[in-house]
Each structure stands twice: as structure tokens, then as C-alpha cells.
């Protein structure tokens, strides 16, 4: 993708990536030496791998032209290196004894950009992960997919507007949860923090998803009895309004199948596989609620001061958590921004 095209795309949608995909690969200092006779290169490599393997640096090649990577610097001095190799049974007479210290990649690079940088320092193996590459170069979505994401965000904006204009909410914030498998809106949410400080739009939307699974804790509307898809996650008034405004969109969740031993469930579980479209960046509480709910992707329009998906921190990239979702920002940014004037 050309640079100009990419910049244009960055204005429409931008992934919020984990720091280890954005930052340079960390480096480590190693000792290197030169090999006296080019003909012995393969022997030196073989012997050295046998006597002094470096399990931490398997992503690096041992050889760079006539130079050979000996060992990680640790606490050794240059003068001690050959002594150390000898004590491990390596024939040091094959080397020139011109020990130098160089910095090399401490861990395997994750993206092409990272690889290009560390490969200059020392030859480095790299297995490109196509998906990560698409994410890190912001080429995951094609034009029609972006239009689809924008459409769902426009629904979220409509929900936000509706809630404020009808004096249901004090802040115009909207959330739409979509099941991408059936391309259907499962649940909606808007902020009712004046009622309860934890009732942020994403929390309401999560609870409304639960209603489509015979659950939910906050009963705030008469649930629609349903036809083919389950409409329990959508406020009836909003349903009528949105159906008119967005006739091309499908509403409702897949039928929920209760779990029993006889009938194993293949229906929805929490928000697994669902995509979340939020006009505003979720706070830390909501970001973690979305982790617990196992959503697939979160799209938001504008950053918030207390945001947990890029502003204050990146809850979705915390390594030790058992579930991770992808996050994209800037979707319909200007329209979401203008919600503050509603």
C-alpha cells in the first residue's frame, strides 16, 4: 500500500497496538570475534553451537560474513572470553581474538519494520505473521469493510443523540454491539450515569447482550418478544427509530440455547465473537468489562480523558490477561466529536 493511501486510511481508522509492536526491539550486548579462515566457518559454527549454545538468542544467525557471535556479554570482560570458550571445550585457535562488543536483537522482532532495524545490527531470522503485519501496517480492512464499520458507528452516534435529545442521558454517548457472523446488531447502550455511576454506555450494552441470553441485571425497558432473531438487547423505541433510519441493517441476536448435558450449547456465550462500536473511548472499568465479556473487537470514535484503550493505558494489551481484543480508533471521529454539542 502506498504511503499516501495509508495516511488517508489512518484518518478513517487506526489500530491501537500493543507497545511491543510499536517500539523498537530491545537489544542485548554480545561478544563477537572474526574467523581466521573462511573455509572453517561451518566447522566453527557447528563446534560453537555444540560447546556454547545460546538458547536465548535462537532468533539470531551465528554468522555475519566472517564475524561470529560468541556469547551474551553478561559479566564477562573481553579478555576472559577466549578463556571461557576454551573451558567449554571450544578450539579458540580458529578465531582471530579480536573480540568486539555489539548490540543485537534480544528477542525475535514481531513486525517487518522491527526486523528491518535489528537485521542491520546482526542477521536475524524472521517469520512474518501476516495478520500482525496487516494490523501494524493498518491494512486489515478494505474499503467496503471500513464502510460497514462506519455504518455501525453511525448507529452508535444515533443512539447517543437519541439518549441526549430525549433527556434519557446527560451525556451523549452511544454503544452498538454487533455479531459479525450474522451481520446483525445484538444490543445497544447509552450512558445513564446520573442514575448509577457505573452505568456507562458499554456496561449497559453488555447487560443488554445478557438479556438476549435470558440474563441481564438492569431491567430498564419492556423487552420485545421476538421473531427470528432475539431483540431483547434493543430498546423498543430505539428499534423503531433505527429501523427507519437504517433500513439496510439487521437487528437481533442469534437464538440463545441454554446449556444442558443433553443439548450442548452452540449459541452465544457472553459477547464472544462480537464487535463493539462506541462513540467514545471506554474507561478502564468498561475496557475490563469488555475483556471479561470476551468481545472480539472494539471500535471507538474519540479519545476520552479517562480512556483505558489508548489514553491512560491499553487494557486490551495486558499480557497476563486470558483474553485480548483488538482496538481501533478514529472511526467517524468528527461526528463523534460533535456529539458534545448535542
Amino acid at each position: 500500500m502506498s504511503c499516501a493511501k495509508k495516511i488517508k486510511l489512518d484518518e478513517k481508522i487506526l489500530p491501537i497496538l500493543a507497545d511491543d509492536l510499536l517500539e523498537d526491539t530491545p537489544l542485548v550486548e554480545v561478544f563477537v570475534d572474526s574467523i581466521k579462515d573462511q573455509k572453517t566457518i561451518s566447522k566453527v559454527v557447528k563446534d560453537l553451537n555444540a560447546s556454547c549454545p545460546i538458547p536465548e538468542l535462537t532468533h539470531l544467525k551465528r554468522i555475519k560474513a566472517k564475524e561470529i557471535l560468541l556469547l551474551i556479554k553478561n559479566n564477562l570482560e573481553k579478555q576472559q572470553v577466549h578463556e571461557y570458550l576454551k573451558s567449554n571445550g571450544f578450539n579458540v585457535s580458529l578465531l582471530c581474538n579480536q573480540i568486539r562488543i555489539v548490540s543485537v536483537a534480544k528477542i525475535a522482532p514481531k513486525t517487518k519494520t522491527q526486523h528491518a532495524k535489528v537485521n542491520q545490527l546482526w542477521p536475524c531470522n524472521f517469520h512474518s505473521d501476516k495478520y500482525i503485519e496487516k494490523l501494524s501496517t493498518n491494512t486489515l480492512f478494505d474499503h467496503s469493510e471500513i464502510l460497514e464499520h462506519q455504518l455501525y458507528m453511525k448507529v452508535a452516534i444515533e443512539v447517543a443523540r437519541y439518549s441526549k435529545q430525549n433527556k434519557i442521558a446527560h451525556f451523549s454517548k452511544g454503544v452498538v454491539i454487533v455479531d459479525p457472523k450474522i451481520k446483525s446488531i445484538v444490543a445497544l447502550g447509552y450512558s445513564v450515569t446520573h442514575e448509577n455511576p457505573c452505568k456507562h454506555a458499554p456496561m449497559i450494552a453488555i447487560d443488554n447482550v445478557a438479556k438476549t441470553q435470558n440474563g441481564g441485571a438492569w431491567n430498564n425497558y419492556e423487552q420485545l418478544t421476538t421473531t427470528k432473531l432475539n431483540l431483547c438487547g434493543i430498546h423498543p423505541k430505539l428499534y423503531t427509530l433505527l429501523q427507519e433510519k437504517f433500513p439496510q441493517i439487521t437487528f437481533g441476536a442469534s437464538r440463545f440455547k441454554g446449556k444442558s448435558i443433553k443439548e450442548p450449547s452452540d449459541g452465544p456465550y457472553l459477547c464472544t465473537g462480537y464487535c463493539v462500536y462506541s462513540t467514545h473511548e471506554p474507561c478502564i472499568m468498561c475496557a475490563m468489562a469488555l475483556v471479561h465479556s470476551r468481545v472480539k473487537r472494539v471500535f471507538y470514535g474519540v479519545k476520552t480523558n479517562n480512556g483505558g484503550l489508548g489514553t491512560l493505558c491499553k487494557v486490551h494489551t495486558v499480557k497476563d490477561l486470558n483474553h485480548h481484543y483488538e482496538v481501533f480508533t478514529k472511526l467517524c471521529q468528527d461526528e463523534c466529536e460533535s456529539l458534545k454539542d448535542v
Partner: protein, 198 residues
């Protein structure tokens, strides 16, 4: 270890290990006992056994336990249920809930998760006392929410932690009935008990 903890300092203190025992007053022990009783109730109802109570001026104003499986909502942790009760209590008694929350002491059998920690810090509750660490979702063990939100809340943990952990182990022996079967069966040692949907 946590005796000297002062307001706002908690995020600087070293991690509290599960074997650490904190000193509680008889009152506080009584409140923790109450929280444990709700954790046990959760276990009896096939929920992740976490119990919680909110105390205001030595009076219990809210009690809760995990209701995730019952409500099909991963946000219905014991703490969130107690928060809702305080909001309702405040409304019924024409009180400002933010003022009430500021004087609330939270007693919970397991370290609040990242979501609950953020919620409790934002509500500026006075203190949080917990039993065992939450090594899967913990709001300080897994990700330090306090470092970001700089709360006024005093946090202390480690009281009856082995017992709290044992309840979780008992639950996971039976497996979470609502979780889908994992595609890759992960090897887990008996000691390394992880908690699902806390």
C-alpha cells in the same frame, strides 16, 4: 507488611503475597467472615466464589456475591452488585451516593479485578480489604490500576487468603458450567489455580 500503609501510598508498597497475614480488628474480622459467607453462597450456586460486603459507619449497607453465570453478564461481580445496592440505598434515603461511597469500607474475599478496582477507585471508597490475590484479573496483581488512577482508597489484602483461594479451587474442581469448552486444553498444575470470570 501493610500496617504502615497510608492513604495514597498503596501503589508504592511491595506486592502482598498470599501467605501474608494482615492484622484486622475484631470488627473487620467479623465483616470479612460475612464476606466469606457470601462467597460460600456463590459456590453453592455454581458461581465463582467471591463474596463482598460494603460497610458504612460500622453498618452493613450492601452484600453481594458473584452472579455472572446467573445473569449471563461478565460484569456482575460481587463488588458491582454491592455498588448497585448503595446507589439504591442512597436514592431511597435521599442521600448523595458519592458522599456515602466516600465513607464505605469494602470487604471482599478476593482482590478486586481490574474492572472492579477501577469502579471502586472512581467512587472513592475509603478502603478495600481483601482475602487472596487474584492472579488472573487482579487490579494490582495483573495490572496496577492504582498507579494510573492514583486513588484515595486504602487497599490491604492477605487476610484468610488460603481459605479464599481454597474456595476458588473447590469451584474449579467442578469447572465453570457456563464457560465454553476450550479448544486447546491447557495444562494446569493443581497449585496454579486460575479464576474464570471473577
Amino acid at each position: 507488611m501493610n500496617e504502615g500503609t497510608k492513604q495514597g501510598q498503596i501503589h508504592n508498597s511491595p506486592p502482598i503475597m498470599s501467605r501474608d497475614i494482615i492484622n484486622l480488628t475484631d470488627h473487620e474480622k467479623f465483616f470479612m467472615e460475612k464476606a466469606f459467607s457470601f462467597a460460600k453462597e456463590a459456590l453453592g450456586n455454581q458461581e465463582v466464589p467471591v463474596g463482598c460486603i460494603f460497610v458504612h459507619k460500622n453498618e452493613i449497607l450492601a452484600v453481594g456475591r458473584n452472579e455472572v453465570n446467573e445473569t449471563k453478564s461478565a460484569t456482575r461481580h460481587a463488588e458491582m452488585i454491592c455498588i448497585d445496592q448503595i446507589v439504591n440505598y442512597s436514592k431511597e434515603n435521599s442521600k448523595n451516593y458519592m458522599e456515602i461511597f466516600r465513607e464505605i469500607d469494602v470487604f471482599v474475599t478476593v482482590e478486586p479485578c481490574i474492572m472492579c478496582a477501577a469502579a471502586l477507585y472512581n467512587l472513592k471508597v475509603r478502603s478495600v480489604t481483601f482475602g487472596c490475590r487474584n492472579d488472573r484479573f487482579g487490579g494490582s496483581t495483573v495490572f496496577d490500576v492504582a498507579e494510573i488512577l492514583k486513588p484515595v482508597t486504602i487497599v490491604k489484602g492477605g487476610y484468610r487468603s488460603e481459605e479464599a483461594m481454597q474456595l476458588l479451587k473447590d469451584f474449579y474442581k467442578g469447572q465453570n458450567p457456563n464457560a465454553p469448552e476450550s479448544k486447546v486444553k491447557k495444562k494446569k498444575s493443581d497449585v496454579d489455580v486460575k479464576q474464570d470470570s471473577l
